[in-house]
C-alpha cells in the first residue's frame, strides 16, 4: 500500500530532516509511528499524503510511483486516505456535521445521499447532540472525535492519525485506540503517530521509530 525507498527530505538548502527512509505499510495493518517531538513524524505523514515532495528516493502509493502521478490521480489517492491532524484542522466556519461530511461533499455527492451516514457516524462517536456546533465551541476531545469522524466518513483504505491522543485524557485516549483497532479489523490500514509510550503499550503493534532523521522498524 505504501512503500518508501531511500527517501530523503530537506527544506530549501538546509540539512536533510529525513534521511534514507525505508519502510512499507501493508493493507489492513496497524503500526505506530513514534519518536521524540520534532523527530519528523508529521513530516513523514505529510510525505505519505503527498503534501510534501521528497528531495530524493522513491515513494510508492497503492502500487504507483508518486513522482509520475498526474494531479487527478493524486487526488484519487488522497481520497483513499483519511487523516487526523494533530491540530484537528477543522474548518471553523462549518458545523461539526459539515466538517465531517466534507470528504463526501468534495466528491460531489448529494447531501441527501450521505446525511444519514454522517449523522450515524456522529452519534457513534458521541457527537450526536453537537452536530450543529461550530468547532470553536467544542472541547478538545470533541474536536478530536470530529476530526476522526471526518477521517473515517469516506471509509479510507489508509488512516493516518497524527498524535490522536495528544489532546485528550488517558481514558478517552484508550477508547480512541480501541476505535482504531476496530477500524483495522474492518480492513483499514492504520498508522498512529504518537510519542505516548503508555498508549503503545496498550496494544502491541510494529513501531516505525524516527530518530535523528532516520527511521527503523521495531517489530
Amino acid at each position: 500500500m505504501v512503500r518508501f525507498e531511500n527517501v530523503g527530505l530537506r527544506y530549501g538548502m538546509g540539512p536533510e530532516v529525513l534521511k534514507d527512509i525505508n519502510f512499507s505499510i501493508a493493507p489492513r495493518s496497524f503500526q505506530y509511528l513514534t519518536g521524540p517531538s520534532g523527530a519528523g513524524k508529521t513530516t513523514l505523514i505529510r510525505l505519505i499524503l503527498m503534501a510534501l515532495k521528497p528531495t530524493r528516493g522513491l515513494v510508492h502509493l497503492f502500487g504507483q510511483d508518486v513522482s509520475r502521478l498526474e494531479a487527478t490521480t493524486l487526488t484519487d489517492f488522497r481520497r483513499k486516505m483519511g487523516v487526523v491532524f494533530q491540530d484537528f484542522r477543522l474548518l471553523d466556519h462549518l458545523t461539526v456535521y459539515e466538517n465531517v461530511a466534507l470528504p463526501l461533499r468534495v466528491l460531489g455527492k448529494e447531501e441527501a445521499g450521505y446525511r444519514a451516514e454522517v449523522v450515524e457516524l456522529l452519534r457513534w462517536v458521541g457527537l450526536g447532540e453537537r452536530m450543529h456546533a461550530v468547532p470553536s465551541v467544542l472541547s478538545g476531545g470533541e474536536k478530536q472525535r470530529a476530526a476522526i469522524a471526518r477521517a473515517l466518513i469516506s471509509r479510507p483504505q489508509l488512516l493516518l492519525a497524527d498524535e490522536p491522543t495528544g489532546n485528550v485524557d488517558p481514558g478517552l485516549g484508550r477508547r480512541l485506540l480501541r476505535l482504531f483497532m476496530e477500524l483495522q479489523t474492518l480492513g483499514t490500514a492504520v498508522v498512529i503517530a504518537t510519542h505516548d509510550l503508555a498508549l503503545m503499550e496498550l496494544y502491541d503493534a510494529p513501531r516505525l521509530v524516527l530518530a535523528d532523521g532516520h527511521l527503523h522498524v521495531d517489530a
Binding site: P103, E120, W124, G126, R175
Partner: protein, 341 residues
C-alpha cells in the same frame, strides 16, 4: 436512502465526560441498519466552504457596487447620447432650407416665389413653406434684441422644405437648377450640422463605452487582488480541502461561487442605485419641463430617459460585473493553486 452501515462498537464513547456524549442507542457490535430517530431537517446550512461574509468580502461588495454604479451611469449616458443623436439626425435629415439672400439688383420676393415654385416641383419634397419676413426677423431677436426695425438690414429670407421619408436622388439636380434659376438662393441640407452633432454624439458614446470598459477592468483587478487575499487567508482551509480529496477544480469552483455571490451583491446594489438615479433625473427633468433650461437640455440630450432597453443595459452591466468577478476569481485561484503545488 442508501447508506452503508457502521458495524462498530457504539459504546466506545459512551462514558466520555465530554458534552454531547449521548446514551447508547445500540448494543456493542450492532449494525446500524437505519437510524432510530428522525434525522434533523436543517443539518446543512448550505454554508460555502470558503467564508463569504468577511470584512474583506464586504469591502469588495462596496467596491464592486461603486464601480458598477459608475459603469451603469456611463452606459446610461452613452445610451442617452445615442438616442439623442438619433433624434437629431432624424429631425435634421428630413429638413432642408433654401436661403435667399437680398441682392439690390434682384427682386427678393420674385426670387422667393421662383424658389418655392422650383421646390414644389421636386418629388422628394413633401412640403414647402416660405417663412414670412416677420418670422425671419424674429430669428434674429436672440442676437439683436427685440423692438429693432430691421427693414434696412439685408436679412435673408428662408424657405423650409420638409422631405419625404424616402429621399430620392433628385435633390442634387434641384440644387443645380436652383443655383442656375435663382443665383441669390442656396440650398442648405444641414449636412455640416448633422456631421458635427454626430461627431459629438459619437465622442460621448465612445467615451461612455471607454469608461465602462475601464470600470470593468478595475472591477476585474479588484476581484483578482481580493481573491489572492482570500486565498492567502484561506491557505489552511485550501490545504485541508486538498487533503480530504478536493481537486483544484472543486476549490476553484468554491471560490468562483463565492466571488459570483459577492459580484451579484455588489453589482445588484450598484445597478439598482444607478437605475434609481437615472429614474430620479428623468423625473426631475419632466418636473422642470416647462422651463427654458429644461427645453435647452432636452434639445441637446433629448428626453432624459433611457427606456426599457437602457434599464436592460444597466442590468446587463451589473450581470457582466458579477460574471467577471466569478471568472477572474476562478482564473486567479487556478493560477494560485498551480503555484502552491
Amino acid at each position: 436512502m442508501t447508506h452503508r452501515a457502521w458495524c462498530l462498537p457504539t459504546g466506545i464513547f459512551m462514558s466520555t465526560p465530554d458534552r454531547g456524549a449521548e446514551p447508547a442507542e445500540h448494543e456493542e457490535g450492532e449494525e446500524f441498519a437505519r437510524p432510530r430517530s428522525r434525522l434533523p431537517d436543517n443539518l446543512r446550512r448550505d454554508q460555502p466552504l470558503v467564508p463569504v461574509d468577511t470584512v474583506a468580502g464586504r469591502a469588495l461588495v462596496v467596491v464592486i457596487a461603486i464601480l458598477t454604479f459608475l459603469a451603469a451611469l456611463s452606459a446610461g449616458g452613452a445610451l442617452m447620447a445615442a438616442r439623442a443623436s438619433e433624434q437629431w439626425r432624424g429631425a435634421v435629415a428630413n429638413e432642408m432650407t433654401i436661403q435667399v439672400r437680398p441682392d439690390p439688383r434682384r427682386n427678393i420676393e420674385a426670387d422667393l416665389a421662383r424658389a418655392v415654385e422650383l421646390a414644389r416641383a421636386v418629388p422628394s419634397v413633401a412640403e414647402v413653406r416660405a417663412m414670412p419676413r416677420d418670422e425671419s426677423d424674429r430669428l434674429l431677436e436672440p442676437w439683436l434684441g427685440a423692438g429693432l426695425d430691421l427693414i434696412e438690414l439685408p436679412v435673408p429670407r428662408l424657405i423650409v422644405l420638409r422631405l419625404n421619408a424616402s429621399v430620392a436622388n433628385d435633390l442634387v439636380a434641384f440644387s443645380q437648377t436652383l443655383r442656375r434659376e435663382v443665383p441669390s438662393a442656396t440650398l442648405d441640407d444641414h449636412r455640416l450640422w448633422v456631421r458635427r452633432l454626430s461627431t459629438m454624439a459619437n465622442t460621448i458614446i465612445v467615451a461612455g463605452v471607454g469608461v465602462v470598459m475601464l470600470v470593468l477592468v478595475a472591477a476585474a483587478l479588484a476581484v483578482a487582488f481580493a481573491t489572492r487575499g482570500a486565498m492567502a487567508g484561506s491557505r489552511d482551509s485550501v490545504e485541508v480541502l486538498h487533503l480530504v480529496g478536493a481537486d483544484d477544480e472543486f476549490i476553484a469552483r468554491e471560490f468562483q461561487n463565492r466571488f459570483i455571490t459577492l459580484g451579484l451583491r455588489g453589482g445588484g446594489a450598484g445597478g439598482f442605485a444607478a437605475v434609481i438615479v437615472i429614474a430620479l433625473l428623468g423625473w426631475l427633468a419632466s418636473a422642470w419641463s416647462a422651463t427654458p433650461e429644461a427645453d435647452q437640455l432636452q434639445a441637446m440630450f433629448g428626453a432624459f430617459e433611457i427606456g426599457w432597453s437602457g434599464y436592460g443595459v444597466v442590468i446587463l452591466v451589473a450581470a457582466i460585473v458579477a460574471a467577471i468577478a466569478g471568472l477572474v476569481s476562478r482564473v486567479t485561484v487556478r493560477h494560485y493553486l498551480r503555484a502552491m503545488s
